[in-house]
Amino acid sequence: MESWRKSPRAWALSMLAPGMWLALFFLAPLSLLWLISFGVKTGITSIDIDWTLANYARAAQPLYLAIFLKSLWIAAATTTICLIIALPVALVISFAPQQLRAWLLLLMILPFWTNLLIRTYALIAVLRGSGHVNSVLGWLWQLPDGLLAMIGLGGHHLMGAQFTPLEILYTDGAVVIGLIYVHLPFMVLPLYAALNSMDRSLIEASLDLGAGHVRTFFFIVIPLALPGIISGVILTFIPALGSYLTPDLLGGPGSQMIANVIERQFKAANDWPFGAALSFLLMYAAFFGLALRGLADRRAAQPGGAW
């Protein structure tokens, strides 16, 4: 960890390229945006930086705070469900035979070979009223109805007179489904990494000493996988919080998230200072999450740490 002190020149040299990259493509545009967030629009395309806090004050209005809260809620629901789905998936992959494991991981990242927009459009086709989910449900609905008809009860409409397609698309639920679909690999991969490096003998010891599978899972596996869980939660929660394409395409009339508001400030409303202020509030929320992670790491690093 301290090895860079021994050859500082080599270290500096190796940091040159990523440092320049970071400065040019991350720090410079971000600083510009940060300045703009303290600006005021003086013409259609002109912005004066006069260090006003008016944009932040406007962003703190109940209207925008409510949209922030709604985004937090959708991102939290996405992350929670992702975690619940990803834990068993990651366990299965890490306990799979070596040859199979590579294939399972490949399957996990396979959707990334297709563009997000195309995948979202595919989801529209799956979720819509006349889409695939509803045709399967309609087909399943017909099965018992057909059986009832065979035993002479067909006329009684015990299953209801007609199959009503589920209204999934254009709801908040569709947004959460879309976000889970997109972010699941970001949860599975760090979980897999954590589980894979876990000392298996601890599980065996737990089982030998009389703990059941459930107890072993909750008291041995989960604490050991905790760094992976935290990474996965952050990798899922932060992009989900800032997503705008998914609510745009899958959401209903009330599914607007904060990134949709930000997008409108930069495009149709042409109000960059306000859009920049909203963006930075979103970014501070993300930093807050990362700070929590740092805190958890430090606790874990302590010899007598809680985990």
Binding site: I67, S130, A268
Partner: protein
């Protein structure tokens, strides 16, 4: 934004607009930025055209090159705000652009457009005088000449309605078709048509009237399936909704594929728009740009374009070459009495846009 959607069939929900975004996002960018030409005395034989997708004739660009020797490089944009954002920090090298009327005014106010020399466009004589006089967005057509025009109205599934749903009431103020309605998410028109329903001007800047329109929409919201991002026609095509507030051209293209789709301009009046040809400031080839605009309004050329894009052309000489099916299509040419009640969407200044945008944020958040 809209209109230039191509294969919006029942199965394929992918409009061309989104297809363009998608391919661009994958990395197959369509050409990228044209290089700004280095100034020379005689203009080099090149032209950079920034257009909507499927919004030019199949052979127009090749024909132009054959006639003049000027090679055209076309880039595509999908929304007016995309065009605006691209030119915001200076013209990256485009010679001819295709902004919609209200954006012409915004771009002119931002000093982004170069004046057009009407003397160098003799084909201007073919343009419909009535349209030329409807020039509140660009007095005297100093910066723009009309390319195509159209309306915003109600697309509907005919079999669900014994009578055409000709009032905005069914979209904005009634639970009769609850869950079967899509409105446009584009704020100017979402609020503008609510204002129209309430009997005010489409372009109203009166805060009390806008508040009233906002309240109307918040009350109606439970009945609305979607504030569609330029995909109302897809929702209509796939049967998700039976009523859609949409661009006339999007519905006209759907009508060509599906006999069960109709289009009416509301009895309260609709919104009108013009897409225009304009030359952005700092265009590297202004002479070629004038020649190109003139060429597009050559009657034969214009008729070829119109046959493909199926919008209303302002070019009278080209109209004379169109067939009856085109001339009698109510989605392309609505009844004159309803057109008279309709209004051209205007640019009312940044304050007005800001106020409308905030009203829309409240509606979407309600």
């Amino acid at each position: 934004m809209h209109r230039k959607t191509g294969f919006s069939g029942r199965g394929a929900a992918l409009t061309r607009r989104h297809f363009v975004q998608a391919t661009a996002a994958i990395g197959l960018t369509l050409g990228g930025l044209p290089k700004a030409a280095f100034a020379s005395d005689a203009e080099e034989k090149q032209l950079n055209f920034y257009n909507w997708d499927t919004y030019i004739g199949e052979t127009t660009l090749a024909d132009f090159e054959e006639a003049t020797g000027i090679a055209v490089k076309m880039d595509l944009f999908a929304e007016n705000d995309e065009l605006f954002a691209k030119l915001r920090e200076g013209n990256p090298g485009y010679d001819v652009i295709v902004p919609t009327s209200n954006w012409v005014a915004r771009m002119a106010a931002a000093d982004m457009l170069a004046p057009i020399d009407h003397g160098r466009i003799p084909n201007i004589r073919h343009l419909d005088q009535r349209l030329m006089e409807d020039d509140a967005f660009d007095p005297g057509h100093k910066f723009s000449l009309p390319y195509m025009w159209g309306t915003i109205g109600i697309g509907y599934r005919k079999s669900k309605f014994p009578e055409p749903p000709s009032s905005l009431k069914w979209l904005y103020d009634s639970g009769k078709y609850s869950g079967r309605i899509s409105l446009m998410s584009e704020c100017d028109f979402l609020l503008g048509m609510a204002l129209k329903y309430l009997g005010y001007s489409l372009n109203s800047t009166d805060s009390a009237q806008i508040a009233q329109a906002e309240a109307l929409l918040i009350k109606q919201k439970p009945h609305i399936k979607s504030f569609a991002e330029d995909n109302g026609q897809d929702l209509l095509a796939s049967g998700e909704v039976d009523l859609a507030l949409e661009w006339s051209g999007d519905i006209a293209q759907l009508m060509a594929e599906d006999d069960d789709i109709g289009y009416v301009l509301p009895s309260e009046g609709g919104a009108m728009w013009q897409d225009t040809l304009a030359i952005p400031k700092g265009a590297p080839h202004p002479q070629n740009a004038h020649a190109f605009i003139n060429f597009i309004h050559e009657p034969r050329v214009n008729a070829d374009i119109t046959r493909l894009v199926r919008y209303a052309t302002p070019n009278q000489a080209a109209l004379a070459q169109m067939d009856a099916a085109y001339m009698q299509n109510p989605a392309i040419f609505p009844p004159a009495a309803l057109l008279a009640k309709s209004e051209m969407i205007l640019y009312q200044g940044e304050q007005a846009i800001s106020a409308r945008q905030e009203a829309c944020t409240r509606i979407f958040a309600a």
